[in-house]
């Protein structure tokens, strides 16, 4: 492993990473009203992690983020399928979403939508898939 002094990059990442992740979360949550959504949000998060990979090496990133991305993919698929199938419990067709204003203890009145849970599944899958591909190719000699 070649070792170079990447102090500028490493410092810049520490600041930038925060904004990128924040932006990707924003894109994800705003998806229902503005351009964005689970797909592009997931890609953006993966992009942030890739930036980490470029700055440090694979082992360090694995220590920082001990995530098995294949399991993340599976979790995402589970999210998507369970929100879709959940509607069956209420005697409505598969993939019927529900939404409404809900009174929550701390947050107060909030408009919630089950489509967001579905989108969260998409988000996890996209992160998991992208990172699995990049990680396996990167680790391969």
């Amino acid at each position: 492993m070649r070792k170079t002094n990447n102090i500028i990059l490493e410092t810049a990442i520490k600041v930038l990473l925060f904004f990128i992740v924040l932006y990707s979360v924003y894109i994800f949550t705003a998806g229902h009203y503005y351009p964005g959504g689970g797909f592009i949000g997931g890609l953006m998060t993966a992009g942030a992690i890739v930036l980490l990979l470029i700055t440090y090496d694979i082992k360090t990133v694995e220590e920082l983020l001990p995530v098995n991305y294949r399991i993340l993919t599976a979790i995402g698929l589970l999210f998507a399928i369970s929100t879709s199938a959940g509607s069956l419990l209420f005697d409505v067709p598969f993939l019927t979403h529900a939404f409404g204003d809900v009174q929550l203890p701390i947050l107060g009145e909030l408009s919630l939508h089950t489509a967001t849970l579905f989108d969260l599944g998409v988000y996890f899958v996209v992160v998991g898939v992208t990172m699995t591909i990049i990680q396996t190719i990167g680790e391969d000699e």
């Binding site: 998806g31 351009p35 890609l43 598969f94 579905f118």
Partner: protein
Amino acid sequence: MSFLHLAIVAPLILSIFIPLFYRTFRQIHTGWFVLPLPILLFGYFLTFLPETMSGTSFIKMINWIPSLGINFTAKVDGLGLLFSLLITGIGALVVLYSIYYLAKNKEKLNHFYVYLLLFMAAMLGVVLSDNLIVMYAFWELTSFSSFLLIGYWYERDKSRYGAQKSMLITVFGGLAMLGGIILLYIMTGTFSFTEIMSQANEIFNHSLFVPALLCILLGAFTKSAQFPFYIWLPDAMEAPTPVSAYLHSATMVKAGIYLVARFTPVFGEHILWFWLVSGVGILTMIWGSVFAVKQTDLKAILAFSTVSQLGLIMSLLGVGAAAHHYDFLDENIFTVAVTAAIFHLINHATFKGSLFMAAGIVDHETGTRDIRKLGGLMHFMPITFTISIIGAFSMAGLPPFNGFLSKEMFFTAMVHVTEMDIFNLETWGILFPVLAWIASIFTFIYSMILVFQTFTGKYHSEKFDKKPHEAPIGLLISPIILVSLVIIFGFFPNLLSDSLISPAMSSILPSLLEAGEEFKVHISFWHGPTIELFMTLGVIILGLVLYKTHSRWKKVYKGIPEKLALNRFYDFVLEGLQSVSYKLTNTYMNGSIRSYLVYIFAFFIIILASTLIGKNAFTFSTSNVSSIGVYEVALAILVVLGSICILFAKSRMTSIILLGAVGYTVSLFYVLFRAPDLALTQLVIETISVALFLVCFYHLPKLRKFETRMRFRLINALISVGVGAIVTLIALSAHSSKLFDSISKYYVENTYTEAAGKNMVNVILVDFRGFDTLFEITVLAIASLGIFGMIKLRLNRRKEG
């Protein structure tokens, strides 16, 4: 399920138990367990005689697939009963013969009797089914079981060759027959033969009538070994002799005869039927008899003789069908042809069965069937000699045996053909008696060769492996019974005329009978000094002269037959088909993906272009087009330039970068056309894919990594330009002919009210049509797992390590 159905499937049921008997009772020959069944069935079928003699038929039906009109209808009428008696009677004799012929501990008897019983049930099913589909099913079962029986000694090359050949030819004919049956169904709307027959007059002028006729005849000709399909029969002689005696003389080869007789009421009035059936029959007869003289193997002589005799019966049926055109029964001289056909059918079964069994005995006791080695066996095997001589004289048509009577009637029928004034027979009719006469002379010659070259002459002890001796009595019982029948039917032919022949005739020619009427059949030895008698005399005299001088003129055969042998043609076609299809497949399936892509795209162009032109579908209108701005033009130029440059780039790196440039320009297009979600996604995805391309590029092997420009190939250029042009044309026409409005208005109106969202693209993706998204993320997951598996799972490396 009636008793009659049970009788038809009884052999099938028994065949299930054969392996059990074989394993449990090793000491007893398995054939003894089989023998009672055909005898019982024979007795059972005899009980139908009074019924058919009174002109009625017996019908029983069980439902099989009623919704398709396919039911197992069993019908016993004169013709069916005649065949059933032949099948069960000769079946019993053959089983008895096989008990002594096949050794208990050397042969796979369990196989043999299972196949034989399958065959017996199949034949009974063919002749007793009134439903044509059921008949066809049994018909294929006969082909199949005879294939198994011919290949019984499967360790021999010749057996396998013969079995394959007979299978190919008879199944070819069987499928043609199925086609005929379906055509008949289209015309009449029923599979029931009785109903088809009643509609025979209505379908006579139908456009499908002639194709159906040809298809049915093809089935009959292949099964009955007619010209030019007879070639499988001589090769089928590799089967054990009981099989040859049963299948290839008495029963299966007569299935085609049965079919022709059965369909005579439907097709018989057509000119094609007359010419094909009688013409092919007479041709087969003379061809078979001429070639039989050439053979040197006993069973081969018998095989060609069977071919010839089947041709005789076939031509008689053809001539008999002409009786439809002469509507008066009392003076209708052509019904005699049908009488002769049925009579000869019975006679042939008796004498040919006995001759096969005699040949089998000679083979069994001397170890050879070659008539060049055989000779002088008369003193060793007097009983076999007697059997053979009676059978052969009957076959040659000598008095006082039954063959004489049927041959006389055959001549009568053929002479009457010249008196017909239909179908151009005034001019061509004379051929029939002449050919029949010549064929009879050759029949006489080979019959004599068969007996006298085997049993008389000099005995050469050094040519045999063992000392010949008379066969055990068990082997002799069956042929003795058959030759006794030859003599009995010879002296008392009228035993058959009322009981079997007349009912069978009324099945073949029902339209000639008024209600309650029946055919008067009278067969007599002496009908005065007629022309037939002189023809027979001529046959005997000329035949004797030619037989005596046989050794001098048989060299003639060396020149002619080799060129005319159809076996060569068959082998040539079979090998040719194989090598041509092998070469053809090798030419276009060359393993190169490039060529396959060329085929795919070429067909793509051809099919789409011909549809566009054929349907006159190309339209172009500018009514539905929006105005073009500067940015669009600039971006379009960028995309086009980028794409063209990829084609001419020398370095792969340049191509990858250019591809990225095209991708980013496309995302600019999305921006321009107001698709922000698409633009975002396209941008990121393009980045990732370019990165992956670069990874691939970096890992290219050093070997052969010289950078060259893509080579120019005219075909590739033409095809790619063609695909581009055709897709453009179709896109233009599709855009120019909008048939209805888009449904997007619904989404615009309901995105917020129904789904509580303002980003319509996202709402469609996760809500309105979330089902697609569900499986798209599954596709992504599968792709990533695939990559993971491909990279991590290295079985080869693990083995080496």
